[in-house]
């Protein structure tokens, strides 16, 4: 599986309150959530984002609330992969469970800038920065987690068993 798109760049400690503010948590409608995604730190994101685009951030992405609405809003906005130095643990679980691809890669997080065109190969964990002509290697997921991703999320993987 390959993802390719333009990068939306954020810094450390992007919390789930800014990914999707709680004032919108009175709905589960994924499109409505996506229309408010990131608006408190990047008001233009929902208008600017295109299908397949990639989000890159620093440390502890998705910290704070356990709201699954956060990875859902990012996924529904069209983001094909989130790359960060580290993810907050509940966001990490939620992303895997709902099938939003994420990768931890310090080198990619350091080097990639907003607007770069980036390609991600999920089979190898290789991240290619087409704009800068660089590659970075992300840690592959453990087999157990790859199985959840392959099944299309946690509920499907449980059902398969």
């Amino acid at each position: 599986m390959i993802a390719k798109g333009i990068v939306h760049r954020y810094q450390d400690n992007v919390d789930t309150d800014v990914i999707i503010p709680a004032r919108y948590l009175n709905t589960q409608d994924a499109k409505e959530l996506a229309s408010h995604c990131m608006e408190d730190i990047d008001a233009e994101f929902a208008k600017r984002v295109k299908d397949g685009d990639i989000m890159v951030a620093g440390l502890n992405f998705g910290c704070g609330s356990s709201r699954e609405h956060a990875p859902l809003a990012i996924k529904t906005a069209g983001i094909s992969c989130v790359i960060a130095k580290t993810f907050a643990r509940i966001f990490y679980r939620n992303a895997i469970n709902i099938g939003l691809p994420i990768l931890e890669c310090e080198a990619a997080s350091e080097a990639i800038e907003a607007g770069d065109e980036v390609q991600v190969d999920f089979n190898t964990g290789v991240i290619t920065n087409i704009t800068k002509n660089e590659t970075y290697q992300a840690e592959p997921f453990p087999e157990f987690i790859q199985e959840i991703i392959k099944a299309g999320g946690l509920m499907k993987s449980i059902k398969n068993k």
Binding site: V18, L25, N26, S65, E68, R89, N94, M155
Partner: protein
């Protein structure tokens, strides 16, 4: 290699003699929890996957606390969805308006969570229950759905940070100051993917309410869970309250920790976290020129009876600063009733505070105390992220109930030790 307390609980619930940090396990769950925001998403996942039964209706908890009593039509629809699901599966621990409280105050109070449990909740502050000696962690809605269906959850076994507590807290200093100071030292990702295990001679001096507050904010350091050993204070709290027999786990003497933090409770002063991260801690004495517009005393972090007592000690017989909005929210019906019985309610109202029925409301900017542009709030809640309580230019200063109450009298962030 020995195991930490958390690792021992996880091993027992995975049916394994031992586990190691990094190991992926499937563990049996004693308790599964959700609220009115996260449960609807879990119900959708549960139904979409085609499940038609829950693993154990006595172990599932649905607490409608975030946007209740319903703040708007959409919130009412979400509550309705939870209510219908709870009725359909005859969920024992379903708490609606009239019975509900803020979930992490309610479950320990009712003895639903107990020592030795393995607990997940679709709410990040589920880590609160480590205070009673349980492994308890926040997850998302899909994990809740899977937990309700199967009674199991996958975990990566965490490594641990040992926090060695010594000494005793001074007057005007509380569990809130302990956890804020620790987060200030290690940062909002300082315990990422790890357990925070609190040990040492100082543990015995901390009340159960202090421990609940400390474990509640373990997530604010990125931790998977916070946990206290089971001692006389735990037993006293659980005996006559716990709904199930509990099991005591102790860390092995040769358990390995990634880091040991020595923490002298006696040296601690009232602490305030400045916007916009809980790690931006300062001693209260540095904050005295910060003018505020609102005070919130409540939440799963600080809405318990001892928090109400701390506020009462400062507010009784006094008046809050003119122009300041002071919102007090006892976290459960039982705490609310106790506040009435002890005369706190009258004192709060006479002081010029407003007292609300239990709700998470203002903590997450839901309702009941939303901030306008540029406004500042001293809050006993747990997060001060951008826009958390209202407008993106508003500011939240996290503090203890004592600091919040002292600030309510002056309109500036104030040191409770000066008024106690």
């Amino acid at each position: 290699m020995g195991m930490t307390m958390t690792q021992k609980i996880l091993a027992a619930h995975a049916g394994l003699p031992s586990v190691k940090p990094g190991q992926l396990i499937n563990a049996n769950l004693d308790i599964v929890l959700g609220n009115d925001i996260t449960t609807p998403v879990a119900i959708n996942e549960f139904e979409k996957a085609g499940f038609d039964s829950v693993y154990d209706k006595s172990r599932i908890n649905i607490v409608l606390d975030h946007f209740t009593p319903n703040k708007d039509i959409k919130a009412a629809e979400q509550s309705k969805q939870c209510r219908q699901f709870a009725c359909k599966f005859d969920i024992d621990n379903y708490y609606d308006v009239g019975e509900m409280g803020v979930e992490h105050a309610l479950l320990p109070e009712k003895g639903i969570v107990t020592a030795g449990d393995c607990i997940i909740g679709a709410d990040s502050h589920t880590c609160t229950y480590g205070a009673v000696g349980a492994f308890s962690t926040g997850v998302g809605s899909t994990d809740m759905a899977a937990g309700m269906a199967t009674g199991k959850c996958w975990f990566k076994v965490p490594s641990a940070i040992k926090i060695n507590l010594t000494g005793k807290l001074s007057k005007g200093v509380s569990g809130k100051d302990v956890i804020l100071d620790i987060i200030g030292r290690i940062g909002v990702d300082g315990a990422l993917y790890q357990s925070m295990e609190f040990v040492g001679d100082g543990v015995a001096s901390l009340s159960m309410d202090d421990r609940l507050t400390i474990c509640n904010m373990a997530i604010e350091a990125g931790a998977k869970n916070g946990i206290f050993p089971v001692d006389d204070i735990t037993r006293e709290y659980l005996d006559g309250r716990t709904q199930r027999e509990y099991k005591v786990y102790e860390a092995d003497e040769d358990a390995e920790y990634t880091q040991v933090i020595d923490f002298d409770l006696s040296a601690l002063v009232p602490t305030v976290s400045y916007p916009h991260l809980p790690e931006n801690t300062h001693p209260v004495t540095e904050a005295k020129d910060i003018k505020i517009d609102q005070v919130v005393i409540g939440s799963c972090t600080n809405g318990r009876i001892s928090d109400m007592e701390a506020a009462y000690e400062i507010l009784n017989g006094k008046k809050v600063k003119k122009g300041l909005r002071v919102i007090i929210i006892p976290a459960t019906q039982a705490i609310y009733k106790e506040c009435i019985k002890r005369g706190y309610m009258e004192a709060f109202i006479d002081a010029g505070c407003v007292v609300s029925t239990p709700t998470c409301g203002p903590c997450l900017g839901g309702y009941m105390g939303i901030l306008a542009a540029g406004e500042r709030c001293v809050s006993t809640t747990n997060r001060n992220f951008v826009g958390r309580m209202g407008h993106i230019s508003s500011e939240i200063y996290l503090a203890s109930p004592a600091v919040a109450a002292a600030s309510a009298l002056t309109g500036y962030i104030s040191d409770p030790r000066e008024v106690l």
